[in-house]
Every structure is written in C-alpha cells, then in structure tokens.
Amino acid sequence: MRVILECKVRKKPTLPIEAEAIIPRNFLKGTDLVVFEGNKERKLSELFWIFVEGTAVSPENIEIVLNGDTSRIKRVGEYMDTGSILITGNIGMHCGNFMSGGTIEIIGNADSWLGREMRGGTILCRGNAGHYCATGYRGEKKGMQGGSVEVFGNAGDFCAEYLAGGTVHIHGSTGDFPGIEMRGGQLIIDGDATRPCANMKDGTCVILGQVHEMIPTFEKIDRRVLADWKITADVYKGDIANRGKGTLMVKTPGSVYYKK
C-alpha cells in the first residue's frame, strides 16, 4: 500500500508541524490521524491531500510518500518500527527519532537531529543533514544504538555524538566534533572533519578526508592499509584523557583516496 501525503499550501508556511503520527503502522487503520500545527491540533486531512493506493494487511507493506514543502514538518517517523517513508523534498527536525526498523529515504536535505536515538532501521539522506545527525539528545548518555544512517551530502556539528551502535556514513564533510563521546558503532566520514571523536570511549571512526585540529589526547599506534578504500591510514587510540579504547583512523596525508 502506498500513502501519498501532498502538503497543502498553508497560510503560515513557517509554523512547525509536529507529525509524530506519520509512521507506516498508523496508516493500517486509515488516515484519520492528528498532528499539531503550532499549538493547534489538526486533522491530517486539513494539512495534506491524502491519496491511498492499494491495500495492506501488515504495516511492513506500507510506504508513505511525503510531497511538497515538508521542510517544517518535525518528528516524521518517530518510533517507526517497520515499513518505509519516502520524502521527496527537505524534512524538518527530529526525523526518525527512536526509530527501530524500516526505511526512511530523504531526497532533499534533513534538518537537525536526524535519526536521534535510533535503535534500528535505515535512513538515507540524499542531501545534507543538519546538526546532531544520529546522536543522543542533550543530556542523554546513549545516542544511536543500532541501524544505519547514510548521508550523501555534508553533516553539521556534533554528528554521531554518543554513538553507541550501528553505522553512520557521511559521504561529505562534517562540522565540529563528529563522533564526540562515542561509545561504540562505526562512523565513516568521506570528507573532512574538525576535532573528531573527543572523549571517545569505544567504537571506530574512519575519516577519509582531512582532519582539522586533531585532538591532542589521541595516541598514534599504527599505520595500516585500508583495503576497502585502497588507502593507508594512521590509526589512533583514545581518547586517552578519559581512558578511552576507541579507534580513530585518519587517511595518511598524501595517500590518495578514489571515491568508489
């Protein structure tokens, strides 16, 4: 079953919509759902043209397609456990919070907090992601714990903060402090990064571009050929300031990396 949600033109297009109701499982029983626009409760049909194609007997067969100006819609796919969501434009903050299964694909850019505290499933973002991509919330000790997040553009600051499991792959560059406080999992950055992996405890981070302002509390232990990317990389252990056992691999300067 495919549910197409086409955004209606709104009087105040900048008002955020809190749409945690938009997950595949909820559409099994129809489209009679409510979301909040600003502080007002709205029916889904007040904000979207809804087209339903086909039927489904279980939520894993449901695909939701979001069209139109979706850049102010927040919390799409929160607590999603199965099925798929396709967003053809940009998406607002907190997309895929606490997601545990299924797939979200974003053709445009994602705002901050993409895949926050994710447990499983897959997020593909064809554009750029904002700050705090695949992290925990502020004050939370565990960030993303499973699943995978792939961003084909750049990501903002604090990407994969408190990462505890799963894979985060940024094809572009990241801002400040990617992989800060990492507990586990894998973070791959194809582009450049600034001050990566501060206070890392465990897990692996691979940076194939340039590192700006490397944190001084990492100990260089090895130089290794990474067959997957056909490069040599410097291998660091850290963050030794806090007895961390993480692995940070940074492409050796001069080693050429050809993107697959």
Partner: protein
C-alpha cells in the same frame, strides 16, 4: 469581597491545639474570620480530614541547579507529560518536573507554601523567575552562605556583628529568606580541589573551621532576629561514619531563641551513618535522636529516601563528586564565584542495594525515635531522597507498623541486622502527621505570625481537605487508604480560593514570595563599608550595583522586616 464557608470539617490544627473537632471555617478575602454572610459560597467537607495548607520546609524546586537537573535528564522530561487542560499548562518530568508540574502536584497534595532549600545569591534572579512560575505556592528562598568569602573573613576576625551585617545586606539584595549553610567551608575547599572531613579542620586559604562558621552564623542569625534559624546541611554528607560529625555539630548549638529552634538540621538521614566503609555502613539513628531528644533547640527533617530513580542536587559539590566516582554516570559540577558551588547526579535507589535499604530505614528510624514530632519534620529533600510525590507513602509508613513490616520483608537481608527499624512499634497518629507536614514547619520557619500553618482568626486561608474520614479509617491496617487520601486532596484552598479539586487545578495561581529585610544600624551597613565594596569590585564578575535583584523579579513580594541589634 469574596466569602467562602467550609462546613463540617474535621479539623486538626496543632498550633491552636485542635485535634479532630468537627467545625465550620469562615473565610473572607483570603483570611480566616469569625463568620461570613449567608450569601457566601459553601463547601461541604463531609467530616473529612481538614488541615492547614501543607508546608515544605526543605525542597529543591526552583533555581539554577534544579534547571540544570532538567537539562541533564531528557529521559525524565519524557516521563509524566500532561497536556494543557483548562487552566493547567503543559507539564513534563517526574523527578525534576517543570515548575508548573511541581506547582500542580504539590497543590494536588495540599501543599501551599514551599521553602527552596538552597539559592546561590549570585543566581537569585533565576530562582525568583521560577518562583513566579510556581503559581500555587507561596515561596521562600534559603540563601547560601557556606563559602561566602566576606562572611568567612568576618568569622576569622570573630566579628559577629559584621557577619550579621553581611547577611543582612545579602538577604536584602537577593530577596532571600534565611541562612543556609551547605557543608560549611567544604564547598569552598572544593573550589580549591579539596574537601573537609571534620568540623574542626581549617578551610584552605581562609583559616576558619566549619565549627567557627556555624557558631558565628547562629549568633549572627539571632542578632538579626531572622524569622528562621540557621538552616544547616552538615559536613560529611553521605559518608559512612559521619554521625560523629553530626553529633559534634549538634553539641555546638546553644539555645538562643524561646520561640523556635536555634538550628534547623536538614536531611539528617544522610548524616546518620555508622561504620567506616560502604560495606559495613550501619544506622546511628539512635545516637542522633538521643541527642535531638535532649536538645529542644534543634529541629531536623528526615531526608527520607524512597526506592525509585531520582536526581540528587545540592550545593555540596565534593559530595556529588564522590557519588559520581561510585556511579560513573552523568555529573554536573558548578562553582559560584565567591559564594558556593553545586553538583548534580542522577541516582537510582534500589531494594537490591544494602546501602539504599539501610538509608531508607534510617530515615524512618529518625522520625519514629524522635519523641516530639515538632523536632523531626517530614520531607525527602525533594528530589534528592525521592520526588515529593512520595510523601503520602512516607506518611503511610510512619502510621502503620504493618506497612513497614511488609516493606521490610522485601528489602536486602542485611537491613535488619544493621538497623533497628523492625523493632520499632511506634505508629504515628493524625495529629503527629499534621505537625510533621505543616505545623512544625510553620513554627520552624517562623511564619506562624504571617498566618501560615494554622487556621486561627486572621490566618491566611490555606486549607487542605483530604478525602479521609479519620473516624472510619484505621491507618495501622488500612494504610493504602491513607496513602491514596494524602495523594489527592478533595479541595486545596489557597488564600481563600479553591485552587485544586480532586487533583485538578481550576484557577490561575497568584503566589507570594516572602523575603526578609533585617535593618542594621547605619554605621554597620555594608553598602557604606569601603573594604567590602573594594573586595566585591575586585573579585566578583558583576558590579556591586548590578548585584541586587530588582523589584520587578518579585511581582508579589512580601517583605518581613526585622529590627536587628536591638
């Protein structure tokens, strides 16, 4: 003119010596009067238990460290969410709820007055802003002086008058209510990376001891004629074997005031540990209460812990660091310039932990072994021991030996041997509970004259009507009914208006903030003291002229004036 008549109320009002009389209460314009006209609104209390509005004499609900507790715990902000409904704002949080969450839940339990346990003077504005957003309770702020440089200088010079003048100036500037000492000297030592382990150890760089700070501040407090006594969080909180420090501290306290205590020792449960390590920790509640029973000049509160997840927050920075070293979880530490510090960490009190079970037992032992309920007040050091919503359970435990025995049976097996709780037969009655939750607090805080804690003519009409019939409920057996009854009042009346009905808030609140202006002679005023001004401008990051809290922060401030030194 608004009038209200509460009929058929079963009143327990310990301050006026009323114990379970069926009577009517007449209210006009927020105060209790002899009688009202026939046209007044009427509430039929149906012989239910009616008490003066509850008073919490030590809680942490407003201010920077509470807010940082909220900031640190997004998982808590996801709990206890309620939507906007009628007059109620949205709320969220369980152990550190939003200000409105605190206010509504306290109101539903019949509480109408709160004392914020620790306000750093420099951060008073934030506290007062949150006071105005806690609309259903009158508020007071204990002001921290434990590591105040100017005070410590005065203590070293043995100049009690100067210490008093500094306190008076600060209370006036930050609109504070009383003197709070948190680990006196220890928080300042922590600013230098050290801690004190005894009250006779010297604070680094200041050459004063905690004992000197405590005794000087007690005398300064009485010199200023402050309504409340010195409010002390003793040194060595939460360390096995710390009961000796607590007893030594109690020995320092003279009896200086005929109307109230001379020292308020807070959350004594955390200060009543025997043994030497976490492995052999045991209860010393008997020693502590023996001392309290012979010293009417001291009032304490329980600091009961309950088994749940919560957040500990205190100005006692070194103690929180020690706890952090045990738990390795989140930790926040904060230094407040020349004044104090703070620390925050989350904890979970579990029945599987022998230490937690012993702590739980000590709190109850303290209350049950203290002969006079006026000397041991009921609180959990919210949220350090447990969030305040657990008070009804504490009441149930104090009133029912059966409930205690049932709980004890589920505890860690070591508890029985290291505490004496199981041997205690005492069961408190309704009057004891009324003392421990409102009358005792009103007396200890010195707000009886402000019309708090009783229902005499002219008193503020703060009344809590609980859905409990004292003639038909036997608290020793039917403790569940007691717990449920205290969780939700039938009516909470605040200054003559019904604010909460069956747990539902029905009006917008308008609380007051009490503060103290102690008038000192002109020659002792700190704003005229060139040395004080010089040091202030030299060491603080704010100018002295920008330091005082403007009146706009207290839209409903109520000033209590005292004539000091007379």
């Amino acid at each position: 003119m608004s009038e209200l008549l509460v009929k058929n109320a079963c009143v327990i009002d310990p301050i006026r010596g009323i114990n379970g009389e069926i009577m009517d209460i007449a209210i006009r314009d927020g105060r209790i009067v002899e009688s009202v006209s026939d046209r007044s609104e009427t509430i039929d209390a149906q012989r239910c238990l009616t008490l003066p509005g509850g008073i919490d004499s030590h809680t942490h609900v407003c201010g920077t460290k509470v807010n940082f507790g909220r900031y640190m715990s997004p998982e808590d902000m996801r709990a206890g969410r309620t939507q906007r409904r009628g007059k109620m704002h949205v709320t969220s949080g369980y152990y550190v709820p939003t200000t409105f969450g605190n206010s509504y839940r306290y109101s539903a339990m019949g509480y109408t007055t709160l004392l914020e346990g620790a306000m750093a003077p420099l951060e008073a504005r934030h506290t007062h802003e949150e006071f105005t957003a806690t609309p259903h309770q009158d508020m007071m702020a204990n002001t921290l002086f434990d590591g105040n440089w100017a005070v410590m200088d005065a203590v070293r010079e043995k100049n009690i008058k100067k210490a008093a003048a500094i306190v008076a100036w600060t209370l006036n500037a930050v609109k504070g209510y009383g003197i709070k000492l948190t680990n006196p000297g220890g928080t300042e030592a922590w600013g230098w990376g050290e801690d004190l382990t005894s009250i006779h150890e010297s604070v680094p760089h200041f050459a004063v001891t905690p004992a000197e700070i405590i005794t000087t501040m007690i005398k300064a407090n009485e010199l200023l004629k402050l309504p409340h006594s010195v409010h002390l969080h003793c040194n060595n909180l939460g360390k096995p074997g710390n009961y000796q420090t607590t007893l030594d501290t109690f020995e320092l306290v003279p009896d200086l005031n005929p109307n109230r205590q001379t020292l308020y020792a807070t959350h004594v449960q955390f200060h009543a540990y025997g043994g030497g390590t976490w492995r052999n920790i045991c209860s010393k509640a008997e020693e502590i209460t023996r001392s309290i029973n012979s010293k009417p000049q001291i009032v304490m509160d329980m600091g009961q812990i309950m088994f749940c997840r919560t957040m500990t927050m205190t100005a006692d920075g070194p103690m929180e660091f020690n706890l952090h070293c045990l738990h390795h979880n989140k930790w926040s530490n904060h230094d407040v310039e020349l004044e104090t510090g703070s620390g925050i960490i989350p904890v979970t009190y579990s029945k599987k932990s022998a230490v937690n079970c012993i702590m739980w037992a000590i709190g109850l032992e303290l209350a049950l072994l203290t002969k006079s309920p006026w000397q041991c007040l009921l609180e959990t050091d919210n949220p350090n021991g447990a969030p305040f919503v657990k008070y009804p359970e504490v009441i149930g435990l104090l009133m029912s030996k059966k409930y205690r025995d049932e709980e004890c049976a589920t505890l860690h097996p070591d508890t029985e041997g290291r505490t004496s709780l199981c041997a205690l037969e005492r069961e408190m009655d309704w009057h004891d509970i009324a003392v421990m939750t409102r009358a005792g607090q009103a007396k200890a805080l010195g707000i009886i004259n402000q019309g708090k804690g009783h229902m005499g003519i002219g008193a503020e009409a703060d009344i809590a009507i609980y859905p409990i019939r004292t003639d038909s409920v036997d608290p020793a057996r039917e403790y569940r009914k007691v717990v449920e009854g205290f969780q939700k009042t039938r009516y909470t009346i605040k200054r003559g208006r019904v604010v909460s009905r069956d747990g539902e808030i029905i009006v917008d609140g308008a609380n007051a903030t009490f503060w103290v202006n102690a008038k000192v002679p002109v020659d002792l005023k700190m704003e005229n003291d060139p040395e004080f001004i010089r040091r202030f401008e030299q060491f603080y990051t704010v100018r002295m002229s920008n330091y005082p809290v403007q009146d706009v922060y207290l839209p409903r401030g109520r000033c209590i004036e005292t004539e000091a030194f007379t």
